[in-house]
């Protein structure tokens, strides 16, 4: 177990290092951040001073080494645009993204699991067919369109919910959360549903497929023959056995909810990390881009590890040490 964790950490470090190289080269190929950041009225001498201030007058390899040096001290550098430490900027936006992602995931689970189970257990019923066709829509409708429709219907026409933005926040464990206030909850509903729609459909279909695969198995027949209650058969023998692929998908999708909820964040003006990274890419704000991508690599590594741990709990045949 311990060696496996260490091996994974080493892998993660290597991936992060590779990431910084790619991003450094990538951003420097696209264009010069100074041309975007600088006041157009500035003359050449003033431009040169700004370039020197950001350290962009150095050759790329030297910039990279300086960056690595800072990294050893836990310093990702100051954002070119915001003039503040890049890591701080990202962490500041993290709670907003996190609460949106978690809410969306909870919604996806609350709807996806039972509906999928139902559709799998009773595939012939009309209600099951309706659920399945609904999930096709959930899959194929583009997020931005659904988001705009939600806003049009629930905010503009009906006026039930606010159109966008994040509500007032309350501090919990020193972090500001908006789901603790009533207004905050109202602001959270639409973006969370928008984000959850695709995930709900995904989980629903996975669970349904799993149920149909597990049901004809001998151990389920045996459990029935033994006279076990139907609820126990479903909860213990069916659900537990179909959870492995579902857990994998939930884990990875949670990562992508955090890292790539850009579209929803833009439509609902949600001040999360997705908006920050898009702005940073548009402005070639290299320190923020690098810090963000490194955090995301770390996030996915951690998530994958948690998924693996869940496997061993769900299925004792899978050993963590044997894998990897």
């Amino acid at each position: 177990m311990v060696t496996s964790i260490i091996r994974r950490l080493m892998q993660a470090l290597f991936v992060i290092l590779a990431m910084t190289v790619i991003v450094f080269i990538g951003v420097s190929v696209i264009g010069n951040p100074v041309d975007i950041l600088i006041n157009p009225d500035a003359n050449q001498a003033e431009r040169a001073r700004v370039i020197a201030h950001y350290g962009l007058d150095q050759p790329l390899w030297k910039q990279y080494l300086l960056f690595l040096q800072g990294l050893l001290r836990g310093d990702f550098g100051d954002s070119f645009v915001y003039g503040r430490p890049a890591l701080g900027l990202i962490l500041e936006r993290l709670p907003a993204t996190l609460e949106l992602a978690i809410t969306a995931l909870v919604i996806a689970l609350v709807f996806g699991l039972p509906l999928g189970l139902y559709a799998g257990l009773y595939p012939g019923r009309i209600s099951s067919r309706i659920i399945m066709s609904g999930s096709v829509l959930g899959f194929s409708l583009p997020t931005f369109w659904v988001g705009l429709m939600l806003v049009m219907v629930f905010s503009v026409e009906l006026g039930w919910l606010p159109t966008n933005g994040r509500g007032p926040t309350l501090a919990l464990f020193g972090v500001e959360w908006s789901f603790l206030t009533w207004e905050g909850m109202r602001h959270l509903i639409l973006p969370a549903f928008n984000l959850a729609l695709f995930k709900t459909s995904l989980i629903l279909r996975l669970v349904r497929a799993g149920v149909q695969e597990v049901l004809p198995q001998d151990y389920v027949k045996f459990a029935r023959a033994k006279g076990l209650r139907e609820s126990r058969i479903i909860a213990v023998h069916v659900l537990k056995n179909l959870m492995i692929p579902v857990v994998t998908i939930i884990g990875l999708e949670f990562g992508s909810l955090i890292a790539f909820s850009v579209v929803t964040e833009s439509i609902f003006a949600w001040p999360g990390m997705g908006k920050l990274i898009i702005d940073s890419i548009n402005l070639l704000d290299r320190p923020v881009i690098v810090a963000y991508l490194m955090m995301m690599v770390l996030l996915f590594v951690v998530l994958n590890f948690i998924i693996d741990v869940c496997y061993t709990i769900l299925d004792p045949r899978i050993r963590l040490d044997a894998k990897a």
Binding site: P40, A42, N43, Q44, G83, G159, P162, T163, R166
Partner: protein, 520 residues
């Protein structure tokens, strides 16, 4: 070389008009949907439009730059030039910062020097001529310039006056509110970066308290989000009303479209220096863009009224020169070139290109109002007179340094003439590129016209308005009668608002809560 008494009297008059009716103050808040997001509240970090518009709510400057780019008194009540390089500013007495401390010359000195010394150099172009700032007495400041600088007042209007206590504060202290105390019409309440800024009315504002008890600036760069907020009555006024929403707003009984002309000038720049241009293939192997007849034919081929009307959906106004009528340097002697495809074809033939030539034109996408669409339309119109044109648009991040470097043959350019006069665009876009003098930074076509350079040098060091004005006009005439640039249009400022508010759009496109009035 003192400023004329008449001029000062005019400014004093302006100052009194600006004071709103005090009795109107009520407990009504105002919410503005901004189309751009400021990066920080620190007013000296970065001189971008969203930052400057935001900081304008909390802080004042010595000079108030009006919506038409005129200099009006603000924290300075009057000013004069002692000699060509020394300016004396009389400060307004009795002004207090939001925290109750007094405003005086120390704050002015601290602010001007902080803006000059900031490592980000965001305000370098406005502080470049300032040699020193000293206090003659607590309410008189002397600014010494390195050379006679006719644009000093305009430059100083950009620099917000912060409390001297905050002169060493880092950016964070402004964002968390510790140093977000100015003398302006509104005081800081809370700031959520990338989301919103809430402000309270400053009841002791020297020009009279605002009508609005509080102001929320919401940063909504997404067009759909901004429009939805207006339609659902959450927001009183939004910037840059999306074209798709205009019909909806027009048909609504409670909403209105507010339209005004901005000072953002849009043009086509062209390679007029190289003998063979990278994106032109002419039969004779030369660069036809060097011939003024070809340039004129190209401008004649563009149906600019149609572009402004249809492509831009009236979000623009036809332009023939850098600045519109009423701004310093607008000249009646600039020859207007109308749309005439047949004559354009004839002129092209006269210049030796009866069969036209092949051309690729470049532009940014999503940076300016309908930029890619305008470029597409222009491309088709060129093709109609025989110039086989391909259109290529790039993201701003890739385009911005390439066009300035001169990578293209014909490119889409734009300049916000915020100084309200013509030396500002001429220095950057038309003047011969010269690293030492700092001219021609964005002269991507390699224009080099010694006469323009000479007039520009003279205009940049002449302080007397009467002598300066003809020089400014001369710059317009020389640039546009030679067609060094093909003028297209000025962008319009289009806002969507409830009918309960009234607003006069500004040339610099800022939306300032203090200037938003209740409609009645």
């Amino acid at each position: 070389m003192n400023q004329s008494i008449l001029m000062r009297a005019a400014f004093a008059l302006l100052g009194t008009i600006a004071i709103p009716a005090l009795a109107a103050a009520q407990e009504t808040p105002l919410t503005i949907g901004m189309s751009t997001t400021p990066t920080t509240l620190d007013p000296h970090e970065d001189s971008s439009a969203p930052n400057n518009a935001t900081s304008r709510h909390i802080w004042d400057s010595l000079i108030n730059l009006t919506g038409k780019s005129a200099n009006a008194p603000e924290l300075a009540t009057q000013w004069k030039t002692v000699d060509p390089t020394h300016w004396e500013f009389k400060l307004r007495e009795g002004v207090k910062f939001h925290d109750g401390s007094d405003f005086n010359a120390d704050d002015v000195i601290a602010s001007l020097l902080r803006a000059r010394e900031k490592p980000s150099q965001g305000f370098a172009s406005y502080t470049r001529s300032i040699a020193g700032v000293t206090a003659k007495d607590p309410y008189t400041v002397i600014v010494e310039t390195k050379v006679p600088d006719p644009l000093l007042l305009n430059s100083i209007s950009r620099i917000r006056i912060i409390s001297a206590d905050c002169k060493d504060a880092p950016v964070q202290d402004f964002d968390n509110g510790k140093c977000a105390t100015g003398t302006g019409a509104f005081s800081f309440a809370s700031y959520a970066p990338g989301s919103n800024l809430t402000l309270k009315r400053n009841d002791n504002y020297f020009a009279g308290p605002s009508h609005w008890s509080g102001v929320t600036l919401r940063f909504l760069p997404d067009d759909g989000a901004r429009l939805a907020s207006l339609l659902s009555n959450e927001i009183d006024i939004i910037e840059t009303l999306p074209a798709d929403g205009m019909a909806r707003v027009e048909s609504s009984g409670d909403l209105q479209i507010i339209n005004g002309q901005s000072s953002r000038f849009v043009y086509l720049g062209m390679d007029v220096s190289r003998d063979a241009s990278p994106f032109v293939q002419a039969a004779d192997g030369k660069n036809p863009l060097k011939d003024v007849r070809v340039r004129r034919a190209m401008l004649m081929s563009i149906n600019r009224p149609a572009i402004v009307d249809r492509v831009m959906q009236k979000n623009g106004t036809l332009a023939d020169q850098f600045v519109a009528e009423g701004y310093a340097g607008h000249s009646g002697k600039v020859e207007k070139v109308g749309y005439d495809a047949a004559a354009a074809k004839a002129l092209l033939a006269e210049a030796g290109y009866p069969d036209g030539f092949s051309l690729t034109i470049h532009g940014p996408s999503g940076r300016y109002v309908k930029d890619a669409e305008v470029l597409q339309a222009v491309g088709q119109m060129f093709t109609r007179i025989g110039i086989k044109t391909k259109v290529e648009v790039l993201p701003w991040a890739m385009y911005s340094d390439a066009y300035a470097r001169g990578d293209y043959s014909v490119y889409f350019g734009s300049w916000g003439v915020n100084s309200g006069e013509t030396t500002n665009p001429t220095v950057a876009v038309v003047a011969t590129r010269d690293e030492k003098k700092g001219t021609g930074r964005y002269n991507g076509g390699g224009i080099s016209d010694p006469q323009i350079d000479e007039v520009l040098a003279k205009a940049s060091s002449t302080l007397a308005e009467a002598e300066r004005e003809p020089l400014l006009e001369d710059l317009s005439v020389r640039t546009f009668n030679n067609l060094w640039l093909l003028p297209l249009h000025y962008e319009n400022v289009v806002l969507g608002a409830k009918k309960t508010v009234a607003y006069t759009p500004r040339g610099d496109k800022y939306t300032l809560a203090y200037e938003v009035k209740p409609a009645n």
